[in-house]
């Protein structure tokens, strides 16, 4: 398992549009992915689960990936979040 932390910079946090981008990306990756925000663990492959974490601008989240391609997958997720998820 690999993990890393990152700060969300989207103006309105992970609301529907950026969250669904993250969900779309997660579905394309083979790893089991967990996002942890304030002790709440969510699965980003479900946009509803992801949004239930109420991740707002400036929040630091931890991403965990587990699977054969875990290192590449984690890098892809970090890059996508850092680039603002299409916003």
């Amino acid at each position: 398992m690999v993990k890393s932390s990152i700060t969300v910079t989207n103006e309105s946090g992970l609301h529907l549009r950026p969250a669904s981008e993250l969900t779309k990306l997660s579905h394309s990756l083979n790893s089991d992915i967990t996002i942890i925000h304030k002790d709440q663990k969510v699965n980003p492959k479900s946009v509803l689960n992801l949004m239930s974490a109420g991740i707002t601008k400036g929040a630091t989240i931890e991403i965990r990936c587990e699977g054969e391609s875990e290192i590449e997958d984690l890098q892809k997720l970090l890059a996508a979040i850092a680039s603002g998820l299409g916003e």
Binding site: S12, G13, H15, L16, R17, A19, S20, T23, K24, K38, K45, S46, V47, L48, N49, M51, S52, G54, T56, K57, G58
Partner: protein
């Protein structure tokens, strides 16, 4: 004619039209339990409905990206699991299972402590209803009878409903529920049509085809206006759109001098109304928001929530443009109805502004918490008035940090990098400017008080009115010293006194290196016009001579050609 006043306005302007009432499509859901044999059939029915919904959304996504997100939502695995489990384990039919699961998620969103996230409950309702329609075989709510300009009035509008409307006929939008970050608001803003949200009870007051006027400047809805009123508004609407075009032309021109020196023009405001007027001008932000009005218009010290509402509203109106909120500046000539100030010999040298706030930290903290909370909604900066010593500044900043700590503990969002600045309006703050510049993010020179304190001239006393002059060399040198001291530490220096709107003074200040000019908003367009045709280098060249002048007369003679 009936008048309804509204509080949440998201787009500006006027609109007149017939009311077009949107009723929510009603569906009745059979709650009958199914048998074990029917479980698989119900799951198939649900999957089929999801597929059809997705097909529909694929088309819609070409028009608006919000539906791409809806495509992800309809197929969400938690939604699917929720529905299927209710079919398998609780023998709900597909409709009942979907209704229950949808409601669970709507409730989840409504409980999130973030306005923007809460609004997403509407998306959830929208998606659930789309699947439900396919389960029940109901066609989409078509707005076929929309054939003339109309103002749409609804309880709430989902993105799907908006996408079905023929927007070329829609001149305004009113919803009974919803907030300023809802989908409708955003669409209205993009279209530049007025939009009122959260208008309580409007559906009881308006019937289909009633003529209504929306006045987003006065925040009013007029129902059944008479002929004269309609004509009056027609004229206002034309004048408004002409003015908008003018400002747009001017606003689009960059704030730079002929030799490409950038400057920043802001408005000074004392109420939310002022902000609504100010944003019609080519401003880059609000350089001075006098928070006193909140205290003066009430019969009690405004609560944190009352203040938060006002600051949040202000931040949203400005759409990410800078908003500098000056903390409470009462005392001096500004009194409160509900608080007794002791009689003072010299109120301007007395118990006022930051001195009151540091003496009664509870009043101060209430305001700072409200400002911090609102900072999550825009580009807010905090400014302390009347500072004369570093100790005062440290104490004010310490209390601010304590408020930040409280909010973090309470998990309330705020801008963690909020910028903190101070007014330079006392001689002490000028002399200590270099020291202060190391401790704040910006300075704002308040020329009205600074002039009166440097010259020891009461600006309200008519008998000595001629002595009061900001062109006095002592005041000019104090201003220049402040700008240099600020720049030495790399912080921005602005001015929020009316001196910044004096055309000659503005040019002189530009030459001194002033970064931001904040004035009553109505002056901004003129000053922008003047500064745009000024050469920064030319003013700089004459600066030394002006600063060395030893009388007002000499100064005025030197700048006569500016």
């Amino acid at each position: 004619m009936i008048k309804v006043s509204v509080s949440k306005t998201t787009a500006k302007g006027y609109a007149t039209g017939q009311a077009y009432i949107v009723r929510q499509q009603e569906v009745t859901i059979d709650q009958n339990k199914i048998t074990q044999q029917e479980v698989q059939r119900e799951i198939y029915r649900y999957e089929d409905a999801v597929l059809k919904a997705k097909e529909e959304l694929k088309e819609l996504a070409k028009k608006s990206p919000i539906f791409e997100a809806h495509m992800i939502l309809v197929e969400d695995m938690m939604l699917y699991d929720g529905v299927v489990n209710k079919i398998k384990d609780e023998f709900n039919n597909a409709e009942a299972a979907l209704q229950r699961t949808g409601n669970e998620f709507v409730e989840m969103f409504e409980n999130i402590d973030d306005e923007y996230m809460r609004e997403r409950a509407t998306d959830m309702k929208d998606v659930t209803f789309r699947i439900m329609r396919h389960l029940k075989g109901i066609p989409e709510n078509a707005f076929l009878n929309m054939t003339k300009p109309c103002i749409v009035v609804a309880n709430d509008l989902t993105p799907s409903e908006v996408s079905q409307m023929n927007m070329k006929f829609v001149v305004g939008l009113i919803t009974q529920e919803g907030g300023i970050t809802s989908h409708v608001s955003i669409i209205a803003k993009n279209m530049g049509i007025p939009c009122f949200v959260g208008v309580d009870g409007i559906l009881e007051k308006v019937k289909s085809d009633d003529i209504i006027i929306m006045d987003a400047l006065e925040s009013e809805i007029l129902i059944h206006p008479d002929e004269a009123t309609i004509n009056l508004y027609e004229k206002s609407a034309i004048a408004y759109s002409q003015r908008q075009q003018e400002i747009k032309r001017m606003g689009n021109l960059p704030s730079v001098t002929v030799d490409q020196r950038k400057f920043c023009l802001c408005g000074n405001v004392g109420s939310l109304e002022d902000i609504k007027q100010a944003i019609l001008q080519p401003i880059d932000g609000i350089g001075l928001f006098r928070s006193e009005f909140l205290y003066m218009e009430k019969d009690h010290f405004p609560t944190e929530q009352e203040q938060f509402d006002a600051y949040q509203n202000a931040a949203l109106l400005l759409e990410k443009k800078e908003l500098i909120i000056r903390t409470l500046d009462i005392g001096g000539d500004k009194k409160l109805k509900y608080y007794e100030f002791m009689n003072e010999e010299n109120p301007f040298l007395g118990y006022r502004a930051i001195r009151i706030c540091l003496d009664q930290p509870e009043i101060f903290k209430t305001q700072l918490r409200a400002i911090l909370r609102a900072s999550a909604y825009g580009n807010i900066k905090i400014m302390f008035p009347m500072i004369i010593s570093l100790e005062e500044l440290y104490e004010a900043k310490r209390i601010l940090e304590a408020c930040k700590g409280e909010l973090t503990k309470e998990e309330i969002d705020f801008d963690k990098d909020i910028k903190v600045g101070m007014m330079i309006e006392t001689p002490a703050s000028v002399f200590l400017a270099e020291d202060f510049a190391k401790e704040v993010d910006f300075f704002s020179i308040g020329t009205n008080d600074l002039t009166q304190y440097i010259l020891a001239v009461d600006r309200g006393n008519q008998k000595i009115a001629t002595l009061y002059n900001t062109y006095h060399p002592a005041v000019l040198r104090a201003i220049y010293h402040t700008i240099l001291s600020g720049h030495k530490q790399g912080i921005l220096v602005g001015m929020c006194g009316e001196f910044a709107s004096d055309k000659k003074a503005a040019k002189l200040l530009l030459g001194m290196g002033l970064d931001e000019f904040s004035m009553s908003a109505a002056e901004v367009a003129d000053v922008k016009y003047e500064l745009r045709k000024t050469s920064f280098h030319k003013v700089q060249e004459m600066l030394n001579e002006v600063l060395n002048a030893s009388s007002v007369e000499e100064v005025l003679n030197l700048i006569v050609d500016l």
